[in-house]
């Protein structure tokens, strides 16, 4: 069996674990649906009917983010409970193991956000269905980037519950300083320029923006936004991969992280 087929096999096993964690699915689905169908509708009444259409693509991206960060939880658990020692007895290179984890995280994010996209299509019919399909590989890259970021935080969380501190801080800051809930113009108008810039280049903002413009509003695909999305996501995937690889190599050499 080649290294690639072993990588695929491990990624598939890890990916199936995502669907076996039923409580996680319940958390994600209930949060995303209530954000979309309750919060979105009520804020739509407060701000204007167009707001619901604005928010729905953002909620799809937040769902992708939440599902992809589950990779961090699994890496953290594997490190904490010593399962990682077993992983290293598998006939696969450390790089392959890291790659399998990041890819399965990406798959979890894309499958979950795909489901949300389907639900969103019922409440807000998309004008550019073809664009939505074209965007899926880009969303997959974003999902691997977020999985990588979560893996990075899991790898550097040596102490007790520190991973959850990082995970919570990451989620709140990335979602709050983004254009998921408010437009870039609103942020630029009312908040200092550095915050507006962070929000503009936040991968969640980039993804929410292309989903809104191209998939839901039927505009042409913005190649520069897609380029920015790749440029923001790939380094995150690489960062997480390298951090996890270093931890695994340290365990291989010293027997502990």
């Amino acid at each position: 069996m080649s290294q690639l087929s072993r990588l695929v096999r491990i990624a598939r096993t890890d990916f199936s674990y995502f669907f076996r964690t039923k409580w996680l699915m319940a958390v994600l689905i209930s949060l995303s649906l209530s954000d979309m169908l309750v919060m979105g509708l009520v804020y739509g009444r407060l701000i204007g009917p167009a707001y619901f259409r604005f928010l729905v693509p953002g909620i799809v991206v937040v769902g992708l983010f939440s599902a992809a960060t589950d990779t961090g939880r699994r890496v953290w658990l594997a490190l904490r409970e010593g399962v990682v020692q077993y992983y290293m007895t598998l006939p696969i290179r450390t790089g392959g193991l890291v790659g399998a984890y990041i890819i399965s995280g990406g798959l979890g994010g894309i499958v979950y956000s795909g489901l949300l996209l389907l639900i969103a299509s019922i409440v807000v019919p998309p004008q550019g269905i073809l664009n939505a399909i074209v965007l899926i590989p880009f969303l997959f890259i974003l999902s691997t980037g977020i999985a990588g970021l979560a893996a990075f935080f899991a790898s550097v969380s040596r102490r007790g519950e520190m991973y959850w501190v990082y995970a919570q801080a990451l989620q709140v800051s990335m979602v709050t300083i983004s254009t998921v809930f408010y437009s870039a113009q609103t942020i630029t108008k009312y908040l200092p320029a550095p915050i507006a810039m962070i929000a503009e280049y936040n991968p969640l903002s980039l993804a929410a923006g292309v989903l809104r413009d191209s998939a839901f509003n039927g505009g042409p695909l913005d190649t520069s936004a897609l380029g920015n999305l790749l440029a923001a996501s790939l380094p995150l995937a690489a960062l997480g991969g390298v951090a996890y690889w270093i931890i695994l190599r340290t365990i291989r050499l010293k027997g502990k992280p």
Partner: protein, 254 residues
């Protein structure tokens, strides 16, 4: 009484050792208020004047809810890590054990809520001693009610922690989104508002806003809110006392 306080002091000491969590909670509160709160208040200002203050209190109520849920999780973890039989073997009544848990919950809530409350009231220029005291009483009662609900539900966890986590996640999503934590009841669609009146957070949030002087036109009747918050606190704490008394024996460690 002394034994209850000793057990509570032990729990609170462990709580105080987790300083990172408190700093994180305050920092994230600050971030959400500064970014989400200020931007959304600009967007909804025509419908809800002073939405910034409305949202700040809602965020504090979410903190109270999370702290209550924390107590339930703490209780369940004790059970599944095998510590519960040890605690139950101590020379302390089941009611005393529950009271120690409740004190832990109240301490957790107050530490997380007090600095943001003072900070927000100072920022909006409405910082008064009586405002702080009455808001804390209102959130304290709400916190007791949430703790009671979470401990009452913990018997589910004695069968399966996964089901308990899923149940709580679903419950918290519904209880927060369908409440008046983020938006006044009068703006809710007709098909959602009947669900909203079943959420204790609706009453806790509106009562706290009322004692802090928010426009009552956007709030529930304060007498009704105070009555419901008190009834939920008393009712669920009594229920959890019965559960601790009757169901807790024979819990298997994971």
């Amino acid at each position: 009484m002394n034994r209850v306080l000793t057990l509570a002091a032990y729990n609170v000491k462990i709580l105080l050792s987790q300083r990172t969590w408190f700093f994180l909670a305050w920092a994230l509160f600050g971030l959400q208020i500064a970014v989400f709160g200020s931007l959304m208040s600009k967007l909804v200002s025509t419908a809800v004047p002073n939405y910034f203050f409305f949202y700040a209190i809602g965020l504090m109520v979410i903190t109270v809810f999370d702290s209550g849920a924390d107590v339930g999780r703490h209780f369940v973890e004790h059970a599944h890590e095998g510590e519960l039989p040890y605690f139950l073997s101590l020379p302390i009544s089941r009611g005393g054990f529950l009271a120690a848990q409740a004190i832990y919950g109240v301490a957790n809530t107050m530490i997380k809520v007090l600095p943001p409350l003072i900070g927000v009231l100072w920022f909006v220029g409405d910082l008064t001693l009586q405002g702080v005291v009455f808001a804390l009483i209102s959130m304290f009662l709400l916190g007791l009610g949430i703790t009671g609900i979470m401990v009452s539900m913990s018997f589910i966890a004695f069968k399966s922690v996964d089901i308990y986590s899923a149940f709580l996640a679903g419950l918290s999503a519904l209880i927060v989104r369908f409440s008046t934590v983020f938006y006044p009841l009068i703006f809710m669609p007709n098909f959602y508002s009947p669900i909203s009146v079943f959420s204790p957070l609706t009453y806790g949030a509106d009562l706290t806003r009322w004692v802090l002087g928010f426009d009552p036109n956007f709030l529930l009747n304060p007498i009704l809110a105070a009555a419901v918050v008190t009834a939920v606190a008393v009712g669920t704490m009594s229920l959890s006392a019965r559960i601790v008394d009757k169901v807790i024996e024979g819990v298997k460690a994971a």
